[in-house]
């Protein structure tokens, strides 16, 4: 590659002051220079690179040439230089760019050929017309994209109301009184537990709990376990209470009976076998 001029960009050591030559400007792209940690080199990312037509348009604008009268030879040279640079910078050059390069070279060589004297010479066909049309067409859509962009920006500043709560999008609204009570009870239970844990820090030992259960069963003859568990004022006590029931059952001091499935559980003094 000869005469890169200001296009040379790679191989600058990281941390070196950025000079003008480290920046490639590409229409539509937002070039970004990042130090590559492994190789200690600066790498260029071209971000949104918009394809050969964009590059061509950019080069035409940069050289301030008339789009209807493109100096094909010059533009082709610059285009190829950019392509070379991109390859040198390890940028994956998409096939589209190569296709355009080939088309430009073909155009350039055809324009160098003398006009066929035998050809019907009624209208002088500009070989570049096709390319110019494509460029203009492309530019139109770039402008249209700009228009869409501004419309979207305005639209993003406009808000509609938030979604309303209806039975359709929130089935939970449609619960009955019973479900509500259940939830309320759960919340109450949780609340009670939390508060009591804050206040009471006294611990009751396993032995004490067993003694309490034994007394309660003995004094009444039988004991609804719910009554017993309810006396537990913390999660820890509840666990101890539960264990003490298991323990007395294991020791055959009490028997448990349940009259119906999911019904209340009654503890009784075990009748001597």
């Amino acid at each position: 590659m000869e005469d890169n001029g200001t296009l040379e960009a790679t191989s600058a050591p990281a941390g070196a002051p950025r000079t003008e030559s480290t920046v490639i400007k590409v229409a539509g792209g937002q070039p970004e220079i990042r130090p590559d940690r492994e190789t200690d080199q600066l790498k260029i990312t071209l971000g949104e690179f918009e394809g050969p037509l964009d590059l061509l348009l950019y080069l035409i604008r940069q050289d301030q040439v008339n789009i209807y009268d493109i100096p094909i030879a010059r533009i082709t040279d610059v285009y190829l230089r950019y392509l070379n640079l991109m390859q040198e910078l390890d940028l994956a050059v998409a096939g589209d760019f190569l296709v355009m390069a080939a088309q430009l070279i073909e155009l350039k060589s055809r324009m160098l050929l003398p006009r066929d004297p035998l050809a019907v010479d009624e209208e002088e066909v500009d070989l570049r017309a096709d390319l110019v049309n494509r460029l203009l067409e492309h530019e139109k859509f770039k402008a249209a994209a700009q228009m869409l962009w501004s419309r979207a920006t305005v639209e993003q500043a406009v808000f509609t109301r938030a979604e309303m709560e209806t039975d359709k999008n929130n089935p939970e609204v449609a619960v009955g009184l019973f479900d509500l009570l259940t939830v309320f009870q759960k919340i109450l239970a949780r609340h009670k537990e939390e508060v009591l844990m804050e206040i009471e820090r006294e611990e009751i030992s396993m032995a004490e709990m067993i003694e309490r259960l034994r007394n309660m069963v003995r004094s009444a003859g039988e004991l609804n376990l719910i009554t017993f568990f309810e006396r537990a004022s913390s999660r820890r006590q509840l666990v101890v209470a539960f264990l003490s029931v298991l323990e007395l059952v294991r020791l055959h001091e009490v028997t448990l009976l349940q009259r119906e499935t999911f019904g209340e559980i009654i503890a009784r003094t075990a009748s001597p076998a």
Binding site: K140, A152, A157
Partner: protein
């Protein structure tokens, strides 16, 4: 006299509710008798609750009156909104009507909603979208022809964002899929319909003029 009142009450009971008609307001012809003032307020209420922009026709069907009458009621509503110059606008978008905030209040609305402007489409996606919007229905090779570059990721983004939809297959070699813009596109870009897009030829002057 008494009978008449009874009858009137019976009709109202049937409807389940009663709306006081303004005494001097004209009665709109239809299967249902609704005064102009009523129609206007019903239309406004429906536009407010509708999840999506609602068309004058849908409103007319709901109230069982002529679409033209609803159209007239809505134009009056729009005039009222504009005259009041408040925080809300009543606007036509994607073939329907919608109540929305005015863009100038976006800063405060955003603070309240704790929302940031959502990620914008990339330039590649926007250009692809522009091509599709103006040339639809269009196939992917045709998009490539215009843009001069493959745009698979842009197409995917646009499909993911539901801005474009497949519009059947083109009856040509390989029967490629054709794409067009969606209703979501109209909503996101604040368009009544596709005809509201400026003519692509207008961009030609713009594009050519720059050189």
């Amino acid at each position: 006299m008494i009978d008449k009142a009874k009858a009137a009450r019976a009709t109202n009971d049937e409807a389940g509710f009663e709306i006081e008609a303004a005494p001097d307001s004209e009665i709109i012809e239809g299967h249902h008798q609704v005064s102009e003032a009523e129609l206007k307020s019903i239309a406004e209420a429906l536009i407010f609750v509708a999840e999506e922009p609602i068309s004058a026709r849908s409103i007319a069907d709901l109230i069982d009156v002529e679409t033209d009458a609803v159209g007239k009621a809505i134009s009056e509503l729009v005039a009222e909104y504009d005259e009041r110059n408040g925080g809300l606008q009543l606007r036509e978008i994607a073939g329907g009507w919608q109540i929305a905030t005015r863009p100038e209040h976006h800063e405060h609305v955003r603070i309240y909603l704790k929302s940031k402007p959502s990620a914008k489409l990339s330039l590649a996606s926007l250009e692809t979208l522009a091509v599709i919007a103006y040339k639809q229905p269009i196939t992917i090779p045709e998009i490539l022809e215009i843009r001069g570059v493959q745009s698979p990721s842009a197409i995917k983004t646009l499909l993911d964002k539901r801005l474009i939809v497949a519009k059947g297959r083109k009856e040509t070699v390989g029967r490629p899929m054709m794409y067009g813009t969606s209703k979501e596109f109209l909503i996101q870009f604040g368009l009544k319909d596709l005809s509201e897009l400026p003519s692509i030829e207008d961009f030609r002057d713009l594009a050519g003029g720059e050189s």
